[in-house]
Amino acid sequence: MRWLRRNLVVIAGVLTLAFLILPNIVVLIFSFNRPKGRFNYAWQEFSTDAWKDPCGVADLCGSLSLSLQIAIWSTIGATVLGTMIAFALARYRFRARGAVSSLIFLPMAMPEVVMAASLLTLFLNMGAQLGFWTILIAHIMFCLSFVVTAVKARVLSMDPRLEEAAKDLYASPLQTFLRVTLPIAAPGIAAGALLAFALSFDDFIITNFNAGSTVTFPMYVWGSAQRGTPVQINVIGTAMFAVAVICVLAGMLIGNRRRKQAL
């Protein structure tokens, strides 16, 4: 009883972690399945077939590559625009600043289906050809607010004296921005960019409305789930998860080493 009381926090933590990770484990396990029939929902036997041939299913890798391209471009677009907006909102006083500041939050607050439908209406009325570009525009639009929020928080917490100190130490406005402002704002910008990438990569609703005949990876998974789920989907999912985990671990390692070096 006493043991339980003392370790309650640890137990709760472990259970929560398990709750978070369990789905990923299932995805991992089923990527080694050899399903009977078209659906990969029941465990049959161990196999590495899908890992040996991840592009073995028609159109899967095409949609994956399209999704990655869109994610990369919308991350770049949203990060550049969002960083500029964040600096403008945090640093300058201008007319309608308050209005802009709240309007930026709108895409975060609005139901995604509603936004998707209105975007489609807009594109159709403008006579735009649905496809890569409409998806990209839509993604940049909804990623923007997340980038702005992340960067703005960082910029607001920055000591304005740092930039004054840089100017005082012979740095021109451009040098001040590149050498001081940007590096200090970098964690905020990086957080915004990561968020944008993740959001763009797995967005389904808005993409589905505005994609026309183009098929992104989430749309592919959704589509195939109607007819049968190839094991390759689990392979891609597991690989994505592994890449993310490796990135986080690498970041932690570098951080630790730097801290040790400094001491």
């Binding site: 004296r161 004054e164 100190a165 100017k167 012979y170 740095a171 970098a186 400094a262």
Partner: protein, 393 residues
């Protein structure tokens, strides 16, 4: 831009402010003021929070644009130059060290911006000067307050500025460290011979470090002079009260004898050398007679006969005493004025000098100073050393 172009065009490190003022909307932060800081001197701008001293400093640095007036460094007019083109460097109150750079890159920052490639030797020497060599690879947040402060000084000094501006650089340090850094800064200034302009609200700090002190109040300079001059001969009640403590006694001029004015305060007759009076000296006029607490000697009323002739004397009763080691502070109510303060060295303590005792206060007339009675007698009394931050605006 190279090292040469910045430094060679300015022959002197003297700072000259002419008619400089700063207005924010309807608030006048700095009244038009004339100020010359001699080359190579340690100059202090002293005043309470919000008196305009930091704004003045920022106008010299170029971080604030003056509403009127000009700033000259040597004989170069730098009023229109942006901060990065002025041969001055600032040590900020919060130090403003770059958190993403290590100590040696912080120190090298100014050199690198001016396109100097080989900074290693200079940075090493500078870190040695401020005794931080072993911390070169650390990030600012890993250093203590005193160490960060020294980095800030090193980062500014490495550029050999014509003028070094210090914006309350010791405000965040504890008392002991502050005393130590005061001596350290003074040593560095003597060593490098650069003009230092130091902003502070700590009168003791200004007096220990500076050759010249400008006391500022409500956006204007109240008095400018050497610390001893300001202390011994304050020109206004603000300076008298803000710099140390003063007893101010309201008195009436009843005549003169020789070089002295004869004053009447209560029933007593007091003398004041005419040369030490800043008020009108016409007979019948009023003035404030000032005397510093340590200049007054206390004698118990029973021994009143032992007080030498020729000294100003008033009677009173001790209402409070406090023992502070080297000295004892007495508060005395007198018919002339209430709450007079007297500091006596603890050399031979007279045990009869306890609260309730009747005493005679006496001092050399030449230690008094006369001020215009039309001023607020309590000006400058609010404690300026409470460490309140002075914002830029």
């Amino acid at each position: 831009m190279t090292d040469q172009s910045i430094n060679d065009t300015v022959p002197g490190g003297a700072v000259r402010l002419s008619g400089i003022s700063k207005t924010y909307g309807s608030y006048q932060a700095v009244q038009p003021l004339e100020l010359t800081v001699p080359q190579g001197s340690f100059f202090a701008l002293l005043g309470a929070s919000g008196c305009g001293k930091t704004t003045t400093l920022r106008m010299i640095a170029g971080l604030e644009e003056p509403t009127t007036g000009t700033v000259h460094l040597g004989d170069q007019d730098v009023t229109g130059l942006p901060p990065y083109k002025r041969p001055v460097n600032t040590v900020f109150q919060s130090y403003a060290l770059f958190p993403h750079l290590d100590i040696q890159e912080n120190v090298a920052f100014g050199l690198r911006r001016r396109g100097i490639k080989s900074v290693k030797k200079q940075v090493g020497e500078m870190l040695e000067l401020v005794q931080l060599t072993e911390h070169a690879q650390k990030k600012p947040h890993q250093l203590s307050g005193g160490q960060q402060q020294r980095v800030a000084v090193a980062r500014a000094l490495i550029n050999h500025p014509k003028v070094l501006l210090l914006d309350e650089p010791l405000g965040a340090l504890d008392l002991k460290l502050r005393r130590q850094m005061q001596l350290e800064l003074k040593r560095i200034q003597t060593e490098v011979g650069i003009t230092f302009v130091h902003v502070t609200h700590d009168q003791e700090e200004a007096m220990t470090m500076a050759d010249q002190v400008a006391v500022m109040n409500a956006g204007a300079v109240e008095q400018l002079g050497a610390p001893t001059e300001l202390y011994e001969n304050p020109g206004t009640t603000f300076v008298a009260n803000f710099l140390g403590t003063s007893n101010l006694i309201e008195a009436e001029i009843t005549g003169s004898s020789g070089d002295d004015l004869v004053l009447k305060a209560g029933d007593g007759k007091l003398a004041l050398p005419t040369t030490r009076c800043r008020a009108a000296t016409a007979t019948g006029g009023k003035l404030l007679l000032g005397i510093r607490p340590e200049k007054i000697t206390l004698t118990h009323a029973d021994d009143a006969g032992t007080v030498p002739d020729g000294r100003n004397r008033i009677t009173g009763r001790i209402t409070a005493t406090s023992f502070i080691g080297v000295s004892t502070q007495y508060v005395i109510d007198s018919p002339v004025a209430d709450g007079l303060e007297v500091y006596a060295q603890n050399i031979e303590r007279d045990t009869r000098l306890a609260p309730g005792a009747e005493v005679v206060l006496h001092w050399n007339p030449a230690h008094g100073f006369g001020l215009d009675a039309a001023q607020d007698i309590d000006a400058g009394l609010t404690d300026g050393s409470d460490g309140a931050d002075e914002g830029a605006a």
